[in-house]
């Protein structure tokens, strides 16, 4: 098994951090964009770009509430996203154990 076996969408530092941070929340919970940005210390533009890619893959879902300056975006891992991260972690473990 080689590093090519790892999901290329997740195997990027910023996206792995996004997925890992969101995975610590219980299923059904969401995290605000601002809080996620503060936790990962990413620029808004950089975070948005990675979030879009993960959302397009169906790994996470974003919800926007309110409008104008009071709008708020919340992000959560989808069931597929959790599964993809589990598969990624299992593959990674296999690589590290030399399987």
């Amino acid at each position: 098994m080689t590093a090519e076996a790892l999901d290329p969408l997740i195997h990027v530092p910023a996206r792995l951090q996004i997925m890992a941070a969101l995975a610590t929340l219980p299923a059904g919970d969401q995290l605000s964009f601002k809080r996620l940005q503060d936790m990962l210390e990413l620029t808004p533009g950089n975070l948005i770009t990675h979030l879009r890619k993960l959302e397009e893959a169906g790994y996470l879902a974003t919800t926007k509430t309110g409008s104008g300056p009071a709008s708020r975006t919340s992000i959560a891992l989808t069931h597929d996203g959790r599964h993809a991260l589990d598969v990624y972690a299992t593959t990674l473990r296999g690589l590290l154990n030399g399987v």
Partner: protein, 227 residues
């Protein structure tokens, strides 16, 4: 909270990682996120330990030479309840700071649990009032029932909550609280303030040390994705 989502600034980092680096990043990010989202920080336990020692200690100083026991002085009770209010305020502050930006099922579930625990404690107080009203007792009996009874009830309610969530380390903390209150009841209306103050202070200090130890340093690169 306002979120301004503008156009992306600069090209995002698409660099790949070595598997070992990825494992380290995954473990580190999850450890950091858990720390950030958990309000049970060591400083919260340290504040609680200081509150227990000072609050119970001041009341003990006001009753230790009373023969017969008439009850704590109003001044010591004002400080005691003020410190309890301060302790509650620090927990609320830590909780709000840790949980800011989180929404969803667990938030609603925690609100429901808080209501359920409030109802359980209210029922317990009705039982205490019924016991206290059943016959005429000394001032020491009422104070012991109110203080030690409350601590035992809180420990029992929290143990139930911990068992539901399978948080066995927290559950292990609640059992000594009930034991300390039990020893306090045996120590009598004067000694119980000292027993509870010192006992709870030591227990909370041990808990703070354990929390600090669990939070310290970078975790080993063990690969685990699930929350």
């Amino acid at each position: 909270m306002t979120t301004h989502i503008g156009p992306p600034s600069g090209a995002p980092d698409e660099s790949r990682m070595e598997p070992r680096e990825a494992a380290r990043l995954l473990a580190q990010t999850q450890a950091d996120a858990r720390r950030s989202l958990d309000f049970r920080a060591p400083w919260v336990s340290l504040v609680a330990a200081a509150v227990a020692l000072v609050g119970f200690g001041l009341v003990w100083l006001s009753v230790r030479n009373q023969h017969p026991f008439t009850g704590p002085s109003p001044a010591s009770l004002v400080v005691f309840y003020g410190l309890i209010a301060f302790r509650i305020a620090t927990v609320i502050y830590a909780y709000r700071r840790a949980r800011s930006g989180i929404s969803g099922h667990s938030v609603m579930a925690q609100r429901n649990e808080a209501v359920a625990m409030g109802v359980a404690l209210s029922i317990w107080y009705l039982v205490l009032i019924a016991i206290a009203s059943s016959a005429h007792h000394s001032a020491g009996f009422y104070w012991s029932l109110g203080l030690n009874g409350t601590l035992i009830a809180l420990a029992a309610i929290w143990t139930g909550r911990c068992a539901i969530h399978r948080r066995w380390r927290e559950a292990a903390l609640t059992v000594p609280v009930a034991l300390i209150a039990g020893v306090g009841a045996i120590a009598g209306p004067r000694g119980m303030w000292l027993v509870n103050g010192v006992g709870l202070c030591l227990l909370l200090l041990a808990n703070a040390a354990l929390e600090a130890w669990q939070r310290r340093g970078t975790p080993a690169p063990t690969v685990r994705a699930s929350a």
